[in-house]
């Protein structure tokens, strides 16, 4: 199955060099956000997409629906990660009910 990337221009460029199967870049305007939303919807419905990599900054603008398939993973971009480990911690907090520090 294919790996698809959605993100800004530079991220797309880098992952294209690595040979990701499809990569789509989106700008900052609201029209582009709309376009990204539609693209994401389309990708989720497609059968041959296994993993969607999406930059955290883009993921913030388009809401990520809860789907079982494909797997959607948020990745940091050239400015680094927004959340760091916060997202993982949130999952733990919701599941166990307490926060764990180590």
């Amino acid at each position: 199955m294919k790996i698809v990337l959605m993100g800004d221009m530079d991220t797309v460029l880098g992952f294209k060099l690595a040979g990701v199967h499809e990569a789509y870049s989106f700008g900052e305007t609201s029209l582009e956000t709309e376009r990204a939303k539609n693209k994401l919807k389309e990708l989720i419905e497609r059968e041959d997409v296994g993993i969607i990599l999406i930059t955290e900054r883009l993921a913030e603008r388009v809401e990520i629906p809860e789907v079982k398939f494909p797997i959607i993973l948020q990745i940091p971009d050239k400015f680094g990660s927004i959340y760091g480990e916060a997202q993982l911690r949130e999952i733990v907090r919701k599941a166990i009910g307490v926060e764990i520090k180590r």
Partner: protein, 213 residues
């Protein structure tokens, strides 16, 4: 005081309820064990996800640094041109795996690292910096795919834990107490009826004796 179920206070219902309580308690115990096992599994995977996240962030940083150098070397336009010519990498296979009855994905992927001549762009017009950038991003892809599997597993386990927790709590604090209260109500009611009957018999007997005497 928990509310009671709407049942007729009969011996039949009492027996039925007692059986149901036993069943509910058995279910509660099983669910609790499932929850404990899930949480243990959850933490192992959580540790893995944390370290992979860190690795990904670090690899990304390196990759972007390398990309910047490549851009300086050959220029953005040229780099874009090169990127267009890169051959697509290996595809992945996603299978399903079961952890305690929770379906989680299992991604099978060969390493995305390739030799420079497998990437499919010409060496003539590029430099070694481009190769390094491509290699770094291939490494990122490797980590990202592993993280995708682990994080998805984590999310699904979390959802299952939440669901199990809700069930355990519902059984423990609502369903079982309610049935127990109902059992108490029925047995009190039955006792009451018995006492009534006993007294009625006594009374009739006394009346009969009074008439005969």
């Amino acid at each position: 005081m928990p509310e009671i179920l709407k049942v007729k206070p009969t011996r039949m219902e009492l027996l039925k309820l007692k059986r149901r309580i036993k069943l509910a308690q058995k279910g509660h115990k099983l669910l609790k064990e499932k929850q404990d096992a899930l949480i243990m599994e959850f933490f192992t995977i959580y540790d893995e996800a944390l370290s992979l996240r860190k690795e990904l962030a670090q690899k990304m940083e390196e990759a972007f640094a390398a990309l910047r150098l490549a851009e300086i070397d050959v220029g953005l336009l040229k780099l874009k041109e090169v990127a267009l010519g890169v051959k697509p990498n290996n595809e992945i296979t996603i299978r399903k795996r079961n952890i305690m009855g929770v379906p989680v994905p299992l991604i099978e992927a060969e390493s995305f690292k390739r030799k420079p001549d497998e990437r499919g762009y010409p060496f003539v017009s590029t430099s070694s910096r481009v190769d390094i950038a491509a290699q770094k991003f291939e490494e990122v892809l490797d980590v990202a795919v592993r993280l995708a599997e682990v994080e998805e597993t984590l999310k699904r386990l979390a959802r299952e834990i939440e669901k199990t927790k809700r069930r355990v709590n519902a059984l423990e604090y609502i369903i079982i107490p309610r049935m127990e209260a109902t059992v108490k109500f029925i047995s009190q009611r039955l006792d009451e009826i018995e006492r009534e009957n006993f007294f009625r018999l006594k009374r009739v007997k006394a009346l009969l004796e009074a008439r005969h005497a």
